[in-house]
Amino acid sequence: MRCEDCRRDLTAYLDGELADERGSALRGHLRGCAECRAISDAESTLRDGLRSLPPLDPPSSLWAGVQAQLAAAEAADAEKPRWRRTLARWLPVVPRYAFGGLAAAAVALVIWSRLHRAPDEPAPVAALTPTPVIVEAKVVPPPVDLDATADLAAEPAHVGDEYRQAADELLAQAPEIQKEWSDAQRQAFATKVAALRTQAERAEVGKPSRRAWEGLIRYLEGALIRSDVALAGGAP
């Protein structure tokens, strides 16, 4: 997933409206991209702040005032002659149609001139030079100037994510190493990893979470690098 895709889908993701697969891809991208993660955190912080605002009920007089102004506008509209009302209805769309018509005429003119050009007529020099391509400028979001408090609050979760990633990288090497293991050893390993992982995922964010991830990583190192699992169950 690219950064622009991530940022386009971020609002839907935070609203919980993104499909599972797309949401998973976005989560994966956020783990690896500090810039997008910072934007996501800023957005989340803003949403949390908005949610924490007390509900505000508008005074009943406000709606009454709006209704009165609408009624006055309708009464004034009724006073206008019919031709002015029709003109007012069409006026906003006239420029759009005019522009569309002009563009269509230009395209038709170009096609007609190409079709009716003499075969031996040399092509205009301008046609050989590459047409300048107007590339839409890449929209670079302004740097997120997160407030230090939000940044500090978000850090433990980011660090936890880094540990999770380290554990996943180690775990990805398991299949190759496990080839030398017996079924019982593989089963014991899977059970232990699942238990430690659950513990790490459920640990309180911050030091408890870091320690739990470190515990899993130490176990993985022992099992995969030092073959502690294999040795405990007898050499394979």
Binding site: D151, L152, E162, I217, G222, I225, R226
Partner: protein, 313 residues
């Protein structure tokens, strides 16, 4: 909870007058905390905003020198160093940025708090930083140090030392006590370690050790090279393992040593005798044992890297 909170000081500090307005304000000063009844035995420090440097000394008080930096006075006022001293001898120091909805947003990179702390030697130190340097020196009761990306440096410390690092390097020099180092991706450098246990893992980083003397040594990396110059303890166990990295161990021995090695290419040096190969393992013994003596055991392994071992007589 019977523990009584004795003091809660918030060290706001007054911004020092700055002769050059172009420079950001820097705030300093020293705060001294005297033990309240019980001597200070444990200092816990959490500073996610900068460096922590703890130096042990022979006094009984805790001297804290916070050095704050901020782009302007308003930002300086938001920087806090909090100190809680408990009667049981525990002191907790934390730093923070005050939440202020009315002020303009303050980027974390624009502010900084560095702490220099002189602590009684006998106090145990638990400290954590984020990207700042974490230094512990001249202490006698060890400690636990935590960093995300900043470097950890421990020098002349007795007692058990634990370090945890995500991507900051770890350097331990002259540590007299058991050591447990865990680093996910940064290098670990060990020099003059003398304790019962030494456990170090560096993930993708490399481990280098010199003058290491511990009964049980366990060094592990996934990708990084491990280079160790150690002294074999009597009846000691030395396990050095890497998944992809090379392993190079040089050992000073005082008695017999049994070496077991497995790797892409294994070299056990010329001083070894009785070499045998089984299941990919190369086993050798250096020196003779009698009935009373148990040989030190050395296990060296690299799944995809080379293994090299030699004896320094």
């Amino acid at each position: 909870m019977k523990r009584v909170l004795l003091a809660l000081c918030v060290l706001t500090g007054v911004a020092a007058a700055d002769p050059k307005p172009a420079k950001p304000p820097i705030n300093g000063g020293t705060v001294e905390v005297a033990p309240a009844g019980h001597p200070i035995t444990h200092v816990a420090i959490d500073n996610p905003l900068g460096d922590v440097h703890v130096i042990g000394y022979d006094g009984k008080t805790l001297k804290i020198e916070p050095r704050k930096q901020a782009p302007d006075e308003e930002a300086m006022d938001r920087l806090r160093v909090s100190l809680v001293a408990n009667p049981d001898g525990t002191v907790r120091i934390t730093t923070a940025v005050d939440r202020d909805r009315e002020s303009k947003p303050l980027a974390r990179s624009a502010v900084r708090i560095d702490l220099v702390i002189h602590a009684p030697r006998n106090a145990k130190i638990d400290a954590s930083v984020s990207a700042g340097k974490l230094v512990l020196e001249n202490m006698d009761a060890g400690g636990e140090l935590d960093t995300a990306s900043g470097p950890i440096s421990v020098h002349n410390v007795s007692g058990e030392v634990w370090t945890h690092s995500l991507s900051g390097s770890t350097q331990l020099v002259q540590v007299f006590g058991s050591v447990d180092v865990q680093s996910m991706s940064a290098d670990v450098d060990l020099d003059t370690i003398n304790g019962e246990h030494l456990v170090a893992s560096a993930g993708k980083g490399k481990i280098s050790g010199r003058r290491v003397h511990a009964r049980d040594v366990e060094l592990t990396t996934t990708d990084g090279r491990i280079v160790l110059e150690a002294e074999a303890a009597l009846r000691g166990h030395l396990v050095v393992s890497s998944l992809h990295g090379d392993v190079d161990v040089r050992l000073h021995r005082h008695g017999a040593v049994v070496v077991k090695a497995r790797g892409n290419r294994v070299e056990l040096g010329t001083a070894t005798t009785r070499t045998s190969k089984a299941d990919g393992w190369v086993t050798a013994q250096v020196g003779q044992t009698d009935q009373r003596e148990v040989a030190a055991s050395v296990e060296l392994r690299s799944r995809y890297g080379n293994v090299q071992f030699s004896i320094i007589e």
